[in-house]
Amino acid sequence: MSLIREQYTWDLLISTGYGRQLAQKVLGGDVITEIKAYTTAAHHFHPEIDTVIDLGGQDTKALSINLSSGQLHKFEMNDKCSAGTGKFFEMMAGSLGLSLDELVTEALRGGRSVEINSTCTVFAESEVVTLLTSGVALADIARAIHEALLTKLVSLLSKVMRSDSGAILFVGGGAKNRAMVQLLAEALNRQIIVPEYPDFYGAYGAAIHAIQSIRQESI
């Protein structure tokens, strides 16, 4: 952040995400939550979309946006532990001795032969070990890991989605997971839109919010 302070200049700075307060302390400017940032970016790039899911490293959020105002209507977040977040994939890949990419590739090949019931990373790890030692195919286990998280995402989304909601915007680092995108589309029977840089979507939102603030001030 000291580098940013030394090398860049700006008219307005908006920080977002878990480090927003620290960034504000070092760099000044204003803060908005990533929830507002996602809402802003989603409505800017996709004004027709009213439902957003963010699968991040330490939490997962489902947002419902009011299409006429572009404002957040309601939001839901996962419980406090890392269960149901991107961290889950990292841990599971680790217990299978795979990289994240390999886990996704395996899952896409796998079938629904087994279930993992726990999204608690600690309990799920013991389930995975049990499945491995009973000779279940690696691909099927990888698929089951994705299905376990899918259940969480669907339950979170069902709290904010409307029956007439159309396509769903999938953001956060977790949206880079092709297997997850495919499974989510199948489970919800809806088109899943993933932006080009889903892990920078919050930053886009903060920047758009800054531009909007400058415009409002100049009116």
Binding site: Y18, K36, Q58, S69, K74, F75, M77, D79, K80
Partner: protein, 381 residues
Amino acid sequence: MTPLFNDDFQEFPLKRALAQVVGKREAGAKVIGAYCSYAPVEVVWAMGGVPAVLCAFSNAPIPKAEETLPVNLCPLIKSSFGFIELKTCPFFELTDAVVGETTCDGKKKMFELIQKHRPLYVMDLPQCPTNEGAVAYWRHSVNGFKQFLEETFATTISDAALEESIRECNRKNRLVKQIFAFGACKPAVITWQEMYAVATYAMSAQGPEAIAQLEEIIATLTARREQKLFTSKESAKRVLITGCPVGGDVLKVLKLVDEEGAAIVGLDSCTGLKPYADVTEEGSGDPLLAIAKRYLQIPCACMTPNTGRFEVLKQQVEALKPDLVIDLVLQSCHTYNVETVKVESYVREDLGTNYLKVVTDFSQQDLGQLKTRIAAALEMN
């Protein structure tokens, strides 16, 4: 700005309550520990006793409690039990007897584990309050508690003493309610810390001294309102807290609201207005029945149906005009947790107010996430 209490306990409402209990004990009063707003304190005061709240909100004794109790239990029960095991709860150490109620399954079974320490009476609370016979049955429980006190302390509690105690409590409750009504002022003239301090004080205070103190607080608040001495900014978002009781380490949620520059204007819980919101019928001829009727109206989520909760929410939202209602649920409190489904729909759809559900315990592990949640809910229009 003039503080509401002119004493040495400015930041320590529990120490102020403790001083009340100690003072009355030194003057000869028996200390009766209570775990719930359903404990009919009128009976305690009528005996010349003093009630002391034993519900604990500190994370510190929980590891001790978890040596005995399950980990996935309500933190309030674990904390209260842990303090007793460690013998570090000053309130419990001062008690001569303890009253419990069958409000919640976890507490009910915890009482069985602590009865070796103190004379203990558990009041059986009917949980379908509108069913036939519920009030009559609860009157038996109130009477059982009265008889327990009479036997334990070799005394008698007369109807006249109960009537006098009802009048005293009513007077106090009306004043506390008046104080909480200042939450309607916009900008705010009272903070949640002050509301919490008043609710904590009033539990163990009674008589002319308490009445004078509460009247003085009303005068102070009236002066703040007239002199436009506000405790929040004009633009501050307003928040009503509802749900489980709060205190100690779970005040983290309320502090996060402060950090976002919003003003908490109401505390709708057992550590807020709830125990003082109603009065008992005076001169009914059957004070135990009058007490039973009034206590059975307390809108706790353990009741089904709990229609009173929604009436209170409507009154509170209309009077306090919050921008956001935070429904605070302690982990493993199943009744409040399930009730959030109805509360959310009522607050959003019927009252047209933004709503946020928070499930938490006494630890600090979810601070980052809670901050984001609360900030995001307050960013909404």
